[in-house]
Structures are given as C-alpha cells and as structure tokens.
C-alpha cells in the first residue's frame, strides 16, 4: 500500500490514497479483533422457544384433551383448532435449533408470524372495543396477552430472522 504513494499523480491523490489505506488497515484490524459472531447458543434458543410457544402449546393440549367431552364449551373447540399454531411453531423452532434444518421452513415461519400478529391485533381490538387499553384491562388480561399473543409473535419473528440468516458454512461475499 505504502509503496504506491510514490506513483500517485499528485499530492492530493497521494493523500487520498494514504487515507484510504489507513481506513482499510483499521477496518482489517477491527475485523480480526472480532471474536464473537453474535450467534445465540442453541440451549438459550431452546429456552426461548419454550418460553415463547410453550404456554400456547400447553393451552392447546388442554383444549384438545377437553374438546371431545360432550359438555365442552365452543371456546374450547376454537382454541383446539386455532391454538394448533402454538405446537406447530414449537415443533419448527425445535427442529431448526436441534437439527439445523432450514430448507423450506422460512415461509412456514413467516405464515406463523402473520397469524400471531393477527392474534395480537385481535386482542388489542377486543381491548379497545371493551373500554380501551386501561390499567384494568392489563391487570385482568395482561398476562394472557403476553403469554399467548406477544411472546409467540416475538418468537416467530426471531425464528423468521434465524431461518433467513446465512448459514455459517456458506460462502461470504467479498
């Protein structure tokens, strides 16, 4: 790099060249100092998936177990049908984390994220229709809203992100 300065056509060109070399050198130095890649351990991911999709999956299991009883209320049937996205999301996230499988799963994860987003919006619309987002609503519905709508949405968005990221063995762009 430094030897090229002798061949620069003008002082301004030499200065510009030298400045670029300093930047390139600093960039390379910072690059070699990066020892962390920002990837999350699979054990932490498993805990995250259980936290995000576990409550909805448990609710779905409960609903399915009670759906066949003759006096089951209609809400149980609705939860048994619509809540199936919980175990599906849990299964896909676990499959991805434990086996590294990614092929074809991103569109499914995107679909799940859309469904969870709709669930969040429906919950908020319901709250607005019943007196607005007041402290009272959060006290009585907040935990359900977080466990069954917000956390699954956050988990599914993270899953979409993971499924869209480049595998560590893929060639890097230069």
């Amino acid at each position: 790099m430094r030897a090229e300065l002798d061949y620069a056509k003008s002082d301004a060109a030499a200065l510009s060249w030298a400045f670029g070399c300093v930047l390139a050198g600093m960039n390379e130095r910072v690059h070699t100092m990066m020892i962390a890649n920002g990837r999350i351990s699979r054990w932490i991911l498993i805990v995250e998936w259980l936290a995000c999709f576990g409550p909805l999956t448990l609710l779905w299991c409960f609903a399915v177990a009670n759906a066949f009883s003759p006096d089951a209320p209609s809400v149980v049937l609705v939860v048994a049908a619509a809540g199936a996205i919980g175990p599906l999301a849990l299964a896909i996230s676990m499959l991805t984390t434990l086996t590294g499988a990614q092929r074809g799963l991103r569109p499914v994860a995107q679909g799940l994220a859309v469904l969870f987003a709709i669930a969040v919006l429906l919950r908020l619309a319901d709250a607005l229709a019943n007196g607005g987002l007041r402290l009272q609503w959060f006290e009585s519905n907040g935990s359900v809203f977080v466990l069954l709508a917000l956390l699954p949405l956050a988990g599914s968005l993270h899953l979409v992100h993971i499924l869209g990221s480049r595998p560590s063995n893929a060639p890097a762009a230069v």
């Binding site: 030897a3 670029g20 480049r166 890097a172």
Partner: protein, 104 residues
Amino acid sequence: MERERRSSPQTLTILQTLAAQPRAWRHGYDLSAQTQLKSGTLYPVLMRLSDRGFLDSKWEESELPGRPPRRMYRLTAQGRAYAKSEVAAHRASRATVKLARSTP
C-alpha cells in the same frame, strides 16, 4: 435455507479488470486507477480475494532506490473460474431484471 451470496459490485469490477488480462501482474494503484475504486475499498476486497485463494500476489522491488517493494496481484486458475462464473451470474441477473421490467 442456504443462500448463495453474490459478489459486491466493487468485487465484480475488480474481478472483471483482473480477468481482462489474466496473466498480467497488476499493482494496487494501477487497479485503483482503472476501476476508479479508492484504496480503502480496493485493498479489503483484494485481501478477501487473496484469503479465498482467488489471487496470487508477489512483491516487486521498487525502481526508486530505498523505497519499499510494491505488491502485485493476478488471478489464480481458481480465481479466473470464479470471475467467469460471477460475471456470468451478474449478466444473467441483469437480463432477468431487464426482462421483468419490460414485461407489462
């Protein structure tokens, strides 16, 4: 899902410039002048290409006495194949975009 990342436009420019005369050794300044890339862009790309085995490099003693040697670069056989495939892929993607834009 495995996604193959294509080279950046700057990398493509450097590959095209080097592939134009694959046997010739080129200085960094010469490449910079021809590609209009600044040294801060050029050298990181050259380093990545060297790391991946696409470039050969050697030192050339300066004609000026007491001055440091200059580093020269050229494509390896693997680099030539890579340059060819990258340029072809770039042309194909441009043709696809052109076709998509011209289709009503």
